[in-house]
Each structure stands twice: as C-alpha cells, then as structure tokens.
Subunit: 126 residues, 2 copies
C-alpha cells in the first residue's frame, strides 16, 4: 500500500497489521538477513516517523521490542544501532524459526495431518 525509502531500507506499510509490528518485523528481517550490517545505525525515531508519516510513539514501540529481542542497542543522544554480536543475531533467528515451526506443526496436527502428509505437502512446494 505504502512504500518508502529510508537509510537504504525499503519499508512497506499497510493496515493489515499493527504498524509497530510491521516496523518490527521488517527490521527483524533486515537484520537477520544481514541487509543491515552489525553495529550500523538505524533511522532515529523521529526520522522514521516522519518518513512513514506515523507517530513517533509508534516507532518507539517497535524499537523497544527490537532491543528486547537483543537485536539493537541504544546510545543516549546518539541513536539506535544494530548489535555488534553476530551470536545474538544467530540466536534470535534460531529462536524465531523454532516458534514458526512449532506453530506450523501445531496447526497441521490440529487439522489431523500426519508427518507423512506434511512432508508430502512440503515436497510439492519446493
């Protein structure tokens, strides 16, 4: 719906999900994929809010989550930076992947699918 450039990043914002979750997910994705380098500065709260035309508080909420994820660190008066720890990024990726897998398997088993069924579906997809 809405697409904006900021700091070399591509932002997609719509109304299908809470704004702060979309910002959160896109940073998570960018950092996990290495599209943002370790230690790199991300846009300031005010800048991103202005570019996306949303409220600074909403961006704040996303940034606080990012820090709880261990993906960013804040420096007073300077800004928000991607963690310099490759290990933290790896750990985060692995944990989130586990959650996705568990949720997926849970869903499939709720529908009465067996492991053989799931594998068959997966084979069709690749």
């Amino acid at each position: 719906m809405d697409e904006r450039q900021v700091g070399g990043l591509n932002f997609q914002i719509d109304f299908s999900q809470p704004l702060y979750e979309q910002i959160l997910d896109q940073f998570r994705s960018s950092i996990a994929k290495g599209e943002i380098d370790l230690g790199e500065k991300i846009p300031s709260v005010r800048e991103l809010a202005q570019v996306l035309k949303i409220n600074p508080n909403t961006v704040m909420r996303a940034y606080q989550e990012l820090e709880r994820d261990g993906l960013t660190e804040k420096r007073r008066g300077q800004g928000t930076f991607v963690t310099t720890s490759q290990e933290k990024v790896r750990q985060f990726r692995h944990q989130l992947a586990q959650e996705y897998i568990d949720a997926f398997i849970q869903h499939m088993e709720n529908l009465g699918y067996t492991w053989a069924d799931i594998e068959a579906y997966m084979k069709n997809k690749r």
Copy 2:
C-alpha cells in the same frame, strides 16, 4: 484456562485470542479430524453460549464463519449440522493446509532461511 464439556466435545477457552476464533478453530479441527461425524448436529447457539458462559452473539459469529467454510449447514428451527459432504471437508482441510504452509515458508524466508535450512529444521522435529 477454562475447559468444558458439551455434546461430547472438549472446549478450551482463554483470553489469548478472540473467543469466536477459538470456537471456530476447535470446530474446524474437530470436523477435519472426524471427531464429529458428517451430518451430526452441533450445539445450539444458545446452549453453547450458556455452557461457555459467553454471549450468544459471539457463538453466532463463529457459526457463521463455519458455514462460510462450507463445514456446516443450518436448518431453520432445527439447528446447525456438520455438512454431509466428505468432499467439502477434504477441500477445506487442503485449502487451510496450503495457507499454513505458505505463511510458514513466507516467515522462514523473511528470516533469510533457504529451503535446505527449512528441511534441516523439519528433520530435527520429527
């Protein structure tokens, strides 16, 4: 959090999700797994609302979704019944499974995982 028996079915209700979605998912699951026979009557809107101690309108919303799924049929003055079409149940299961798989793959690719990674994770799970 809350567990209740009604018409041979087990109901789990909490506050982690909208109530109508929880009711919906549990009926979907029960029907897809064959825990409720084709053509069988499910509890009336009022009865289920009373047992679960929630509002009839909330149950109604779930039942309307169920019918949109093609899993139930309503008969005026009689009640709501599971469809007699095995084909509709199969179709529903397959469609929902596809959605779960697509969402899962989307998530994993957002985290930068490749197909080989996904397969490795899956192997660890079984």
